[in-house]
């Protein structure tokens, strides 16, 4: 029983990371239709930012983490400005910015690889690496921190979309770009904000996960794929879907590894099979968008 509960905490934490990455995709895809594969690399940049500020410069966590997130906002905004805006303004097909961002994926990875070298770098945990036991439930400090902070992020983003005017303009753009523009919503600003927000969320996830796994230059692609899978499962329509998708992915993965009597190597195929099953049976994901307009 203890194993089960402890595994639950672990799966919750992993699911939150996947959910954050799915959220990053979602924030950018909803208003613009652009799939930014570089979110994984953004997570990596955030992780290295965490290394520089928190490990190397030993800035206190409460100050360092927000700083990393702010820097990531600039990174996201910059990426949008340089590689997406010119294409959108020129009326290029939707595929073009996606490809430009794939190119940026390589650029980000190489900058980090050349700048920091190939060795993994340590990133501290938010509250250290102790073990917390609440009755039968147990997990690492970092796991609980991840769960708590992710919950805050999701609540905050949900509230932003549901209750604030700027947030609802995002929704408007997501539902119908042209109508939104006609209503006076500044599309360029929404796009820039979407990318900045996506980068912030991705970078945040990167710092959190790097505490456990270290910051290394190859961590981007797995993060991107995990986030994607979570997004498909949960559905692009709603913010909650990202978290739900992440949790389902993590729980399935971890519980199968732990309890299913299949060889370990094959257990790695589980997320892929899950993804394929969802794509075939329910490509729009579990949660539908509010007003579903094609």
């Amino acid at each position: 029983m203890r194993d089960l509960l402890e595994l639950t905490v672990s799966a919750l934490a992993s699911g939150c990371i996947y959910g954050l990455l799915a959220l990053a995709y979602l924030l950018m895809t909803r208003p613009t239709g652009i799939i930014n594969f570089a979110v994984g690399e953004w997570g990596m940049v955030g992780a290295f930012g965490g290394f520089v500020l928190l490990s190397a410069l030993e800035v206190p966590y409460a100050l360092g983490l927000p700083l990393v997130v702010l820097v990531m906002a600039a990174v996201g905004w910059g990426t949008e400005r340089l590689t997406v805006r010119p294409l959108v303004e020129r009326g290029a097909p939707v595929l073009a910015p996606i490809l430009a961002l794939l190119g940026m994926l390589v650029v980000f990875r190489e900058i980090v690889s050349v700048g920091f070298g190939p060795d993994p770098r340590p990133v501290p945990g938010a509250l250290g690496f102790g073990r917390l036991e609440l009755g039968l439930i147990a997990g690492s400090y970092q796991s609980f921190f991840i769960i708590g902070s992710t919950a805050l992020v999701f609540v905050g983003i949900w509230w932003f979309f549901e209750r604030t005017l700027t947030g609802r303009s995002f929704e408007a753009v997501a539902i119908d770009r042209r109508a939104a523009a006609l209503m006076g919503i500044n599309l360029a600003r929404v796009t820039a904000m979407a990318f900045a927000a996506g980068a912030m969320v991705a970078g945040f996830a990167g710092v959190l996960v790097a505490a456990n796994v270290s910051a290394h230059f190859m961590m981007g692609l797995p993060l991107a794929i995990q986030g994607f899978t979570a997004l498909v499962i949960g559905g692009v329509g709603r913010v909650e879907g990202a978290l739900l998708g992440g949790l389902i992915l993590a729980f399935t993965e971890q519980f199968i590894v732990r309890y299913a009597p299949i060889p370990a190597g094959l257990a790695m195929g589980v997320p892929l099979v899950l993804l394929i099953v969802f794509l075939l049976i329910r490509p729009t994901g579990l949660l539908k968008a509010r007003e579903a307009r094609a």
Partner: protein
């Protein structure tokens, strides 16, 4: 209008090159021809049929592994093995295409991405059949009627493969089927209204492109006489997409140019820039997409149109 004479001429020229190249240059040349072949078939899938798929390299791998397993482990004669391997690719393509073509745009991309990764997982777990993570090595191309094709003669096989693929795709593109593919790509509802079955068209396009990729894979298996899961991984799938985009999607010439440029670029960049060649590569990708979304062939067209216009003649 590509005539038989044109193909023959190209075959002779490209084959003749095979006899004057040194060992390293031959290797570069052979792999370049294979990449061109892959780019051509991928261009049909992506550019003409409008399907964003990441499974092309997977079929390259299925073809390669199939031919090796059939000839070395089951000891089948080469002609039979080739037919069987093509059949395996076709069946695999159908298994993927039939459910996947229901999906739109990036969902299809995702499904094929997942399939590509699943293939690698299966290869790794395949034990002694697939050689696991180390792959299969230590085999040679089997003899046909006592003859073993090696050296520049094998390069000619690759030339024939490339030109054959081009011929098939050229024909296909200009045929009714090609027009149907483009119609489905641009406006599936209108195409359906005109009596074209979008799903069937997509499935057939997917199967044909993938089978051609598998065929190329069979030829590749005997270039280095090694197959392993790493060769057929995801990185190459992205590279292929870039080749077609940079060259100009929807155009055969574009696919060729894209393949030549992107394949040779690291070789040229590496001695010049050393460590940082991958970074430059990424930057070039971004710049190319930013400044020339129609690909290089689009640039070519606009240059040619401009020249024709300035000479006072209308475009041919």
């Amino acid at each position: 209008m590509k005539s038989l004479a044109g193909y023959f001429f190209a075959a002779v020229v490209l084959s003749a090159i095979a006899f004057v190249l040194g060992s390293y240059q031959t290797d570069v040349y052979r792999k370049l021809l294979l990449w061109i072949t892959l780019a051509l078939s991928y261009n049909f899938l992506f550019g003409v049929s409008g399907q964003v798929a990441f499974s092309h390299f997977t079929f390259y791998g299925i073809g390669a592994y199939s031919i090796v397993i059939l000839t070395t482990q089951l000891q089948w004669p080469l002609p039979l093995a080739i037919v069987a391997a093509v059949l395996i690719c076709v069946v695999a393509a159908l298994v993927v295409a039939i459910p996947a073509t229901r999906l739109e745009g990036f969902y299809l991309a995702l499904a094929t991405l997942a399939f590509a990764q699943l293939f690698v997982v299966l290869l790794n777990e395949g034990g002694s059949v697939t050689g696991g993570t180390g792959g299969l090595a230590n085999y040679r191309i089997p003899e046909i009627a006592g003859l073993r094709i090696t050296g520049p003669w094998y390069t000619i096989v690759i030339v024939v493969l490339m030109l054959g693929t081009l011929a098939v795709l050229w024909r296909l593109e200009r045929s009714h089927f090609g027009r149907a593919c483009r119609a489905v790509r641009d406006n599936p509802e209108a195409a359906a209204a005109m009596g074209v079955d979008p799903r069937r068209t997509r499935i057939v396009a997917y199967v044909i492109s993938s089978a051609l990729a598998g065929l190329a894979g069979m030829v590749y298996a005997f270039v280095d006489n090694t197959v392993n899961p790493v060769i057929f991984g995801l990185e190459n799938a992205f590279l292929l997409l870039f080749m077609v985009i940079i060259g100009g999607s929807g155009s055969h010439a574009g696919a060729v140019i894209g393949a030549v440029l992107l394949y040779l670029m690291p070789f040229v960049l590496s001695p010049l820039i050393g460590h940082h060649h991958a970074l430059v590569f990424g930057l070039v990708m971004v710049l190319a997409v930013l400044f020339q979304p129609q690909g290089l062939i689009g640039l070519w067209h606009s240059l040619r149109d401009r020249r024709a216009a300035s000479a006072g003649r209308s475009t041919p």
